[in-house]
């Protein structure tokens, strides 16, 4: 199993290029909501990029654009060279709430993307079971979502996003709805999993420590219209340890640097 995964980790991560992307939401009256202002961004293949910013600054908008849910007003986004116009086959998304379909079992929820793309079920099934083992949910495949805890449900949602082996994994505050303890466990497990899989990740969060802990790079966004105020490279060895990191002056230095921006902007 691991051999297969390490084999993939050199190649799976997608290259993302965001080129002068602007998004203005049309509203019934008035000039519309200017959510994103000329964003230029390159995400290197296999990098873990976190994005923090005040509420309403356009983080989810950026993610939706990358997921191809709607087109940007100006500019373009490329994943591995191909322009994102509608849903891109190389992109998987995890949202803030798990969005599991309650009438489907865990396994069938994970298989949903394959059904929609009419891909081979048998192969997908094997991969789904494999993913469940990796997130610590072995044997839960025929349970229904209502039988799982919040953390377990979000793990299933992560499996569902990973079933297609996406080159780019988009996560929009995936742990925002979880309690602190579960969140901590999910964060550490996510790092381990990502180290094995090697996808490019864009991880949106409100937690500064969460962002610094997970990322190679933290983007700090300004209030609306969103721009990237700070592009911070996090240089710390992996795998990281949540408890130890919080004692680490280097880690705390990064956290303080981000906080200071928020304080200057009046966000904190």
């Amino acid at each position: 199993m691991n051999q297969n995964q390490t084999g993939l980790s050199d190649s799976i991560g997608a290259n993302v290029r965001i080129d002068a992307v602007t998004k203005t939401y049309e509203t019934r009256e008035g000039p519309g909501v200017h959510a994103l202002d000329r964003i230029d961004l390159d995400l290197a293949s296999g990098s873990f990029v976190a994005c923090v910013g005040p509420s309403g600054c356009g983080k989810s908008t950026l993610l939706s654009l990358m997921a191809g849910l709607f087109p940007p007003s100006e500019g373009e986004i490329r994943v591995d060279g191909s322009v994102v116009r509608k849903a891109h086959p190389k992109v998987g998304v995890v949202f803030q709430t798990d969005l599991l379909l309650y009438w489907r079992t865990v396994l069938d929820n994970i298989m949903l993307p394959l059904e929609i793309k009419r891909q081979d079920r048998e192969q997908g099934r094997k991969r789904a079971l494999d993913l469940l083992v990796q997130v610590g949910l072995e044997g839960f495949e025929s349970k229904y979502p209502s039988e799982l805890s919040g953390g377990m449900r979000q793990r299933v949602a992560i499996c569902r996003a990973l079933i297609q082996e996406p080159g780019l994994l988009l996560m929009d505050e995936p742990f925002g709805a979880l309690d602190a303890l579960t969140r901590e466990k999910m964060i550490t497990d996510l790092e381990k999993m990502w180290l094995r899989l090697g996808n490019t990740v864009l991880f949106i969060t409100h937690g500064i420590d969460e962002a610094v802990f997970l990322a190679d790079r933290v983007l700090v966004m300004s209030p609306r219209p969103g721009r990237v105020d700070l592009d911070l490279t996090v240089d710390m060895p992996r795998p990281r340890n949540w408890g130890a990191a919080h004692e680490d002056p280097v880690f705390n230095g990064y956290v303080r640097q981000i906080r200071r921006i928020f304080e200057a902007e009046g966000v904190l």
Binding site: S64, L69, F95, L99, L112, K117, Y144, S146
Partner: protein, 274 residues
């Protein structure tokens, strides 16, 4: 549970007593309606002869049951007519109501044009149209089916629309991000998510369709259970009158149960895993 907790004193006995008590409670819960219903019928059976009421005023359940058995063929023939009217009316409601609900859901214009009128019309008691329907459609099946249709149509449309509209936008974004088109979004997401509401509408509708058909038969008919009941009424045959009530109820309950069964086959209830 608290009863069970108090049962038995030694630990072994206590555990056994608890298990037994819990099982008894579960059985009681399962058959609560049956037990309660039987108790009422039993009381009826005992009290009526004691109070000296004649069969002509209030027959006993046993007399009614006997009558259902002896008039088996007659009741069945009329029940067939009524059931046909109910099913035809309900079927028309489904065939017209579900597509209309889809049109309302997918088209703003249809919604604006039709939905307010539908909601307003729900406040009209459709029963008052029955004499008019007889006037226009005659004495045959047509006015009964139409009345059953009119009366059962609204809950189907409205509950289907509500079911479709109540889906959280997040789910739509989710399947869109997987590359689903509207066709796939509908069948993988919208329809299964709406099914509990749709079946809720169907169940209300089938009960109403029975009412519609029987009322139609009251107004003008020469067959059907409503007609038979009026005949019994005019001949002061109270037992046969009650027997038709039993059969009409049986039709309603059976059709409702068939829908529930079908629902369990195709739709996963949110709470059934609890």
């Amino acid at each position: 549970m608290s009863v069970a907790d108090n049962a038995g004193s030694t630990t072994v006995n206590n555990r056994k007593g608890k298990q037994f008590g819990e099982q008894a409670m579960l059985m009681l819960e399962k058959f609560a309606a049956l037990i309660f219903g039987s108790a009422i019928i039993l009381a009826w059976q005992i009290i009526v002869p004691l109070s000296g009421l004649s069969e002509f005023i209030l027959p006993t359940p046993l007399q009614i049951g006997q009558r259902v058995v002896t008039e088996y063929a007659l009741l069945l023939r009329h029940a067939g007519v009524t059931t046909f009217e109910v099913l035809a009316g309900f079927g028309t409601s489904v065939v017209v109501g579900v597509p209309l609900a889809l049109a309302i859901f997918y088209s703003k214009i249809v919604e604006r044009a039709v939905y307010p009128i539908l909601v307003a019309m729900q406040t009209i008691p459709k029963i008052v149209l029955a004499p008019l329907l007889v006037l226009y459609l005659g004495y045959g099946w047509a006015p009964k089916i139409t009345l059953a249709f009119l009366i059962s149509f609204f809950p189907i449309v409205i509950s289907t629309v509500v079911g479709l509209q109540s889906l959280d936008k997040g789910y739509v974004n989710l399947v869109r991000s997987m590359g689903a088109n509207e066709f796939e979004t509908f069948f993988k997401l919208r329809l299964p998510a709406a099914l509990p509401n749709v079946f809720g509408g169907f169940k209300v509708a089938i009960s109403l369709a029975v009412i519609g058909a029987v009322i139609g038969e009251y107004i003008a008919a020469d067959k059907g259970l409503g007609y038979l009941q009026l005949q019994a009424n005019s001949q002061f045959d109270t037992t046969l009158n009650f027997a038709t009530v039993v059969v009409i109820s049986a039709i309603g309950v059976s059709l409702f149960s068939i829908l529930s069964l079908l629902e369990r086959k195709v739709s996963f209830r949110r709470d059934s895993a609890k």
